[in-house]
Symmetry: C2
């Protein structure tokens, strides 16, 4: 398993305060880019050597990424790049079905100019057939929607959810194109929002998300490879302070 090779070159001139946060950002990037595939085990020994940090610092980064659900920690077994299954997909869409329509309906209003630019970029990506660029534009579209709420916390949550979406797509790289459908749907949504038809936009979003969830779940269960998780033995919980 070429896990270390997947890390590639590191930014050697980075300036940062907390090394732990820096390590977390490096791993976050590599996972987002798909260079670390879902299910990959992140070994402490090998990673700390590769990144040039101590195991303790690496573990601090793991704690951060675990909090972001980008990584799954199994006690005494290690940490793995999260590999979302059907349950996680349903959870993702439960969140989006609440957040996005609410932002459309009640938010101070998204930045229409920004949305137009994102839609234009998505169309360009569609024209030249670049799926990654289409995916990126799609993500920015939905982030811009939440940005309209003015809440950094909600934006952070949306980003987290979109990061998990990336993991879902990376786990199904064999699947057919998913994004091209949504370029024009986003464009329609934009027009509704620009026209101030918020209730209509919210309703459209909800059905849009319902459809997307169904398609994704169908594709997932259809092309579900063997869940390459390690073993299934439940690890013991050890006791402490039980003198």
């Amino acid at each position: 398993m070429p896990m270390n090779a997947a890390l590639g070159d590191l930014p050697t001139t980075a300036t940062h305060a907390h090394t732990g946060a820096w390590v977390a950002s490096v791993l976050r990037s590599r996972i987002a880019e798909g260079r670390l595939v879902p299910g990959t085990k992140l070994s402490e020994q090998s990673l700390s050597a590769t990144l040039g940090v101590s195991r303790n610092t690496l573990r601090e980064a793991f704690t951060v990424l675990d909090g972001e659900l980008i990584v799954t920690r199994i006690p005494n077994r290690g940490v793995f790049v999260a590999s979302p299954g059907p349950d996680e997909i349903r959870e993702i869409y439960n969140v989006r079905r609440i957040l996005e329509p609410a932002a459309a309906l009640w938010g101070p209003g998204p930045d229409i100019a920004e949305l137009r630019s994102v839609v234009a970029e998505a169309r360009g990506a569609l024209a030249r057939g670049s799926v990654p660029d289409m995916a990126a534009a799609n993500q920015r579209f939905h982030e811009a929607l939440i940005l309209g709420t003015g809440s950094t916390g909600l934006l952070e949550m949306m980003s987290r959810v979109l990061a998990q979406m990336r993991l879902v797509f990376h786990a199904m790289s064999n699947a057919p194109d998913f994004h091209s459908h949504y370029v024009e749907l986003n464009a329609e949504l934009l027009e509704l929002l620009a026209a101030g038809q918020r209730a209509e936009a919210a309703e459209r979003l909800r059905s849009y998300l319902d459809v997307a969830e169904s398609e994704l779940l169908a594709q997932f269960t259809g092309a579900a490879p063997a869940p390459a998780r390690a073993s299934n033995r439940t690890p013991r919980i050890h006791s402490r302070r039980d003198c």
Copy 2:
């Protein structure tokens, strides 16, 4: 500052896997109870001795709590119990104004029986004049609302926001009673939800939250004590790997 005394006795027979998570839960509880006041500095040396864990493990717990915004980490200065100001209050209500009405409008529906029981408890607490019990019931009411979305992630976010609300109240312990107003408002809301009038409930929630935010902000700026933050010098960011 009797920081250590505020910790009180520790559960000495706890059984747990990750010591870091256990430490985080202990600190979370102490902060929620108000035994650790907003602004308190959490010294690594003193805390690690008190809790009987190493500094490394304690720092892992700090990373978790920092991610939950319960604690504020300032590089090279230490970690402090978060002390939310006006900006944080506005952020809290930005989140709640999206999450709660959306849950009422679109969620599969909250557990009406649970809500009734919570309202009953709130009335009991009001009758016997117990502000802490009223606060607890209020929090459970709004959590139950979000629970209706079926999303654990949204519930977690709501819990995080409510934890910050507790910090706000702890920082304004001198303020008059805030919760008694809302006992009956929650009851009205419950009736709307039980009657299936979701749109009405969502609208009511939004104005309800607007009013609550205004009251809280007014009270806050009025009785704002000197922000007991340490000094204001901005800490330097040190560089790395700049060979």
